[in-house]
Symmetry: C2
Subunit: 199 residues, 2 copies
Amino acid sequence: MFILSSPSGTGKTTIAHMLLKQVQGIGMSVSVTTRPMRPGEVDGVDYHFVDGDEFDRMVEAGEFLEWARVFGHCYGTPKAQIKAGLREGHDFLFDIDWQGTQQLYQRAETDVVRVFLLPPSIAELENRLRGRNTDSEEVIQGRMDRAKAEISHWDGYDYVVVNRDIDECYAKVRTILEAERMRRARQTGLVDFTRELMR
Amino acid sequence: MFILSSPSGTGKTTIAHMLLKQVQGIGMSVSVTTRPMRPGEVDGVDYHFVDGDEFDRMVEAGEFLEWARVFGHCYGTPKAQIKAGLREGHDFLFDIDWQGTQQLYQRAETDVVRVFLLPPSIAELENRLRGRNTDSEEVIQGRMDRAKAEISHWDGYDYVVVNRDIDECYAKVRTILEAERMRRARQTGLVDFTRELMR
């Protein structure tokens, strides 16, 4: 499980899309949500759509690796799906915040790599959060506060990468993923391979 | 401290030279040895040359991170030199066997990354150890036995890379080094950098 976190406006979603497109063997899990289906969405592909009672039941039954409520709707990562995928040798990418990361880390029962992306400077962060300049100063200040709160959790991650340039940042994140795949403990078949070498 | 180990004939020394030549900020420590100086060697550059009594004193005083006796001569890695270098942000490369790795890991008091290289097959291993075909079957068998004994320690390493092709293997080892440098715990300055972002 490969976790990417960052304050909003730091390129996390862009980096995640680049990884999914360019790297073999990594995908995202299909989340469970209580929010209504939008036109064009497919149940079981975009999300598993459930009602509030079913979501609560899944929370109670411990069926989520992590879940959160965002703007009144619930989103969760189903444990069974991830565990089955990992057993088959798939990696999963998570684009989640520090709270989701903590939940997932505690409930994972398997291995997790946590990467945190930082903006290059406070000026650049504010620039990116100002967006189209149509938002009120209060809205922007709220975004800055949330971004700073997220940044304060940088020390709960295994790796930290500063996003000065999107391609350079992507290359670094990809390097981390590729190296972590070479860890002895994640390579299946080494026992048989080395036994053959020592015959 | 970046450790490369492998059975002989698996390209460890070639990979080590490539890393030293192409990657910034990593070097080898200057070892202490009891073997006589050879023509062209410089004391303090190629080795620190000492006599047996001085070497024994250093062993007793715990001044080595690891040491070994090879063909009647002693070789050791001085702790003080490495610790000073690490404090200044240098990485050190070690081209040592499993015994040196265990010693270094236990005495390091700081962080170590251990990479083990494997040959692609037993046939290839034997091929490489046969060398120029001028050695007796007994000599070759001795080499094979030592190589297999080294291979049996693959599970004491953080990363395992199979050397099918020297350039591909080098790229993988370099990926591991670059990723490990991005670990949060190894990046100096993050506390100040993030404090600035959260102002």
